[in-house]
Amino acid sequence: MKRLKVTLFSRYSRLGPSTRLRSLQYLSELEKRGIDVEVRALFPDAYLEALYGGNPQFAKYSAWRHYGQRISELLRGDGHDLAWIEGELFPYLPYWLESMLGRSARPYVVDYDDALFHKYDLSPSPVVRGVLGRKIDRVMEHAACVIAGNPYLAARAEQARADRVEIIPTVVDEQRYATVSHDGREQPVIGWIGSPATEHYLLDIGDVLLQACAGGRAKLLLVGARPEVAEQLAGIDVEVVPWSEDSEADQIARMDIGVMPLRDGPWERGKCGYKIIQYMACALPVVVSPVGVNADIVRHGDNGFLAAEARDWLESLQQLIENPGQRARMGQAGRERVEREYSLASQVPRLADVLWLAERC
């Protein structure tokens, strides 16, 4: 049987969450389906470590070196059947340069798991808006297929007149997440996973959390937030733990209720709800803001609640805190939903079809 040779132009390596979840975690399964993927990351893990590890200046300078490396890879050309691009080849280069340099990366599929285009078209800089505002639309337009993580991103691709658009949600490797039985604990744990960049969403519902946890009825476990956040949540029993890929599943398994508050905005609508899927994979009931794809992932009253306003947040959390049976039931429904729709196993065949078909276009 013929095998498909694909070059993946990812932005990062293993340390970049998007790269890991949107492509790297699929590779071994794709191989079983006749698709061999060669990974060409723009930025190596060392770059990300420098960026987040307190040496952003170094990272900035080394960026140009990485651009140069990608250019030489592209000029060399790998003799692949298909290129698989994460978002764009060269951030902040205009489309004409990108398409000129990327001539060997054809045909290509391009993947989006966030509203990357808003980095340009909603940029505060009028120069960026002017030069790059439509760049991603052009990238989408010329793709053999646009892979979008949710309907919001897919709609943008449709508007950009992409030939083919497929929605593939961001999924978890369901094997990595254990469903723990959460028998009626004295003090249920409300959990949140994220990063310093997203912790302000959690602080938005600080008052609600304070009321829900009042009198020690519940406590809070925050994974990946800055330790200082605890001070801003005074009055709540808060535990903050750092994030790591190896421990995240175990940390989530310690929670009883997963939350994902969001503000409603264009960026937020482009998100893929990955943390909700992680919670659900551990059989947690969830309470989330009904923004973008969140409202698709959560079936209100079935595997969790959609909470539009503070009042809804408080009612939903209180109900779950007081009701261990409901938590277990909703958690189970969530886990089943993950297995059916948001698991690696459920999406591998579709991704494989997308890649095989794109090559033929």
């Binding site: 309907p151 083919r164 209100h300 459920s346 078909l357």
Partner: protein, 672 residues
């Protein structure tokens, strides 16, 4: 005419499981085809097809489905009628490609055409209304296709490893793999349009195949097949406008009468009793007149009338019937009859559907079915020949308003909005004695608000979008929704026309007509096992209509001029001429009266909160304003109520088992 259903379980499945599931699916379509049923399964590929049959042509077993082609390569289930199938048989014979015919059904003709010509060419050659699922055993390819204008329905979608398809959603819902996830974005579209436009459905992952499209799913990469058009309405628009009819008014009338007559005649072929709906309006009267012209016997015609004043068309229909000499049956329905239909609506339509004329359409179908199996209807006259009031008002209101510079319009809108509706009402009430009669509005405050909305619009297209919207910002009502782009908001998909009126007509034919009117008629009739046919939608009539210049459609401030000329050759003008009336029920007063308790229970704030789909505040505000009588929100409320009633009937929750069973009008009984 029938119902079809089926699924494709990738990787195959035990025969017993395929048969059980497909039988369950087709059992839900019994009403569409009570006369016969059949199924076909292939455990190797996991393909299962089923059909319920309402026998119209070839009542013999030779018409049984699923049907296999003579060569054995194809097996298909088919819903609909191919009106030119004898002509197709002739072409096959001429090409030496005709098999030995087993019977005289159109399905058999189609199978031979597929064998001889392949799928796209067969679809392009077929004139009729249809939905079809065709399995190519050799290539392991499934083709789904739907007629050009969307007369017959076809839903499809992947649920995990299984592709489900069928004539109605209730069939898909009977499959174990079906997940009833409500699509909030589609719900937003519903609140705008009263129906859910194709390709969306109320369920995530389930689509309506768009009219004129086919979907070919190849075994090698099944999940990412996309529908492609085999015929496009915009092409007919462009071709017609580029090649306008040249001739006198009389010659144009002759041409339309000949083409429409031929179409009516071809659609009167049936081996069972046939009749027509007759409202006494232009469209249905024209169809009936041409039927009578081509028939030796008296045509059977049907009308329903409402006792309540202002909504009674039955007297006009009776006069037309008498003049044409038809065998006319009329039924006067009482409000109780109409109200008794409401609890059945969720199961009849399977998804929220809120064109309130669904109720009289159901009642007239129910009555007609007692006498005939097939009824012709006059639908599509408004879209093809310019009948809707909005085409006239566009010219009057929009053109006039464009003369005002934008800033003046903004200022006027601001002024209108600055005064609360209640104050407008008070002012008009005081001034009514000195105002001329034409300025005596029932709800002036309401009208002032609407005028203000229109004044701030930027284009004729936006004006049309506003006119055809119920809720103007539905995404703000539905929790977690983003309203998808549709034909009306996607300027790339618009046809190029010679003016706003033609543009609106082209839009209505592709949106309102296919998503609302034709859905309404198909489901209401099929729920009563009645087949409906729409002669005006013969593609040859459609193409001719688009060759007719606008002045042959809208003239002297009146729509459908040309169709009227055809009609006036058979029925005197004075029997027809009167203000256009919808096929409506007095919803506004019913919501304040007999339906009030029912509505109140469905719109309860706690309930809305618990369900988590709609924001309670705006809905409660609109409901209270309507009850106060100050503003008329009947259409907005009716679509919210239809969604709520649909939820209440358990349509969203297949795990409850008995979902599609009819339930009593809960939670509050309707009291008259």
């Amino acid at each position: 005419m029938c119902g079809i259903a089926g699924f494709w379980r990738l990787g195959g499945a035990p025969r017993e499981s395929l048969e059980r599931q497909v039988r369950a699916m087709s059992a839900r379509l019994l009403h569409r085809g009570p006369d016969d049923g059949g199924q076909w399964c292939d455990d190797n590929t996991g393909m299962a097809l089923a059909q319920r049959r309402l026998s119209i042509l070839d009542l013999s077993p030779a018409g049984h489905q699923p049907m296999h082609s003579a060569c054995g390569r194809y097996v298909a289930v088919f819903n609909g009628e191919i009106y030119n199938h004898l002509e197709l048989r002739g072409r096959l014979t001429a090409e030496g490609k005709a098999p030995e015919w087993r019977g005289h059904s159109d399905t058999e003709t189609l199978m031979a055409c597929f064998t001889a010509w392949g799928v796209p060419k067969t679809l392009q050659a077929s004139i009729g209304m249809f939905a079809i699922a065709l399995w190519d055993r050799q290539q392991r390819t499934l083709s789904l296709a739907r007629d050009r204008l969307g007369e017959k329905p076809l839903y499809y979608g992947w649920q995990g490893d299984t592709l489900l398809f069928g004539s109605e959603l209730k069939a898909l819902a009977a499959h174990d793999a079906f997940r009833a996830d409500i699509d909030r974005d589609a719900l937003a579209l519903f609140l705008r349009h009263n129906c859910i436009p194709a390709p969306h459905s109320i369920y995530r992952g389930i689509h309506k195949l768009r009219p004129g499209h086919m979907l070919q799913i190849v075994g090698a990469a099944p999940r990412i097949a996309r529908p492609v058009p085999y015929w496009e309405y915009n092409d007919a628009v462009h071709a017609g406008l580029a090649n306008p009819f040249v001739g006198s008014d009389a010659e144009a009338t002759d041409a339309l009468e000949a083409q429409l007559g031929a179409s009516v005649q071809s659609q009167m072929v049936a081996d069972v009793p046939l009749g027509a709906f007759l409202s006494g309006g232009v469209d249905s009267s024209a169809i009936v007149a041409l039927m009578q012209k081509h028939s030796h016997r008296a045509v059977k015609t049907f009308t329903i009338g409402f006792g309540e004043g202002g909504y009674d068309e039955a007297v006009h229909a009776k006069a037309v019937a008498k003049h044409l000499g038809t065998e006319h049956t009329e039924l006067y329905v009482r409000p109780e009859d109409a109200l008794s239909v409401i609890p059945r609506l969720p199961s009849i339509y399977c998804e929220p559907f809120a064109d309130s004329s669904q109720i009289p359409t159901f009642l007239v179908s129910q009555m007609a079915r007692q006498h005939v199996t097939v009824a012709l209807s006059g639908d599509a006259g408004d879209e093809l020949f310019g009948g809707y009031n909005r085409y006239l008002s566009a010219r009057k209101v929009w053109a006039r308003m464009q003369r005002l510079p934008p800033f003046a319009r903004q200022a006027a809108a601001g002024a209108l909005r600055a005064v609360p509706p209640a104050t407008w009402d008070r002012w008009f009430a005081r001034a009514s004695r000195v105002l001329p009669r034409r300025l005596h509005f029932a709800t002036p405050g309401d009208k002032a608000q609407k005028l203000a909305d229109v004044l701030t619009l930027s284009s004729g297209e936006a004006f049309f979008h506003q006119l055809t919207s119920q809720w103007s910002d539905p995404a703000s009502i539905v929790i977690g929704a983003t309203e998808p782009v549709t034909l009306l908001t996607d300027s790339h998909a618009w046809p190029e026309t010679d003016g706003l009126e033609h543009w609106m007509m082209a839009m209505d034919a592709q949106a309102y007509m296919t998503d609302d009117i034709l859905v309404k008629v198909d489901r209401a009739a099929m729920a009563n096992s009645l087949e409906t046919r729409v002669p005006l939608l013969d593609p040859r009539v459609v193409e001719l209509a688009w060759r007719m210049p606008l002045h042959l459609k809208i003239r002297h401030g009146q729509g459908k001029w040309l169709l009227r000329q055809v009609l006036y050759r058979h029925v005197p003008k004075q029997l027809i001429e009167r203000p256009k009336m919808g096929f409506g029920i007095p919803l506004d007063s019913w919501l304040r009266g007999p339906l009030r308790d029912w509505a109140e229970a469905l719109l309860d704030e706690g309930r809305l909160r618990r369900e988590g789909f709609l924001r309670p505040e705006p809905i409660r505000r609109v409901w209270n304003e309507h009850l106060s009588g100050k503003r008329n929100w009947q259409h907005q409320l009716w679509n919210v109520l239809m969604f709520q009633a649909w939820l209440d009937a358990g349509m969203s929750d297949h795990s409850r088992g008995n979902s599609y069973e009819e339930r009593s009008l809960s939670p509050a009984r309707v009291d008259l």
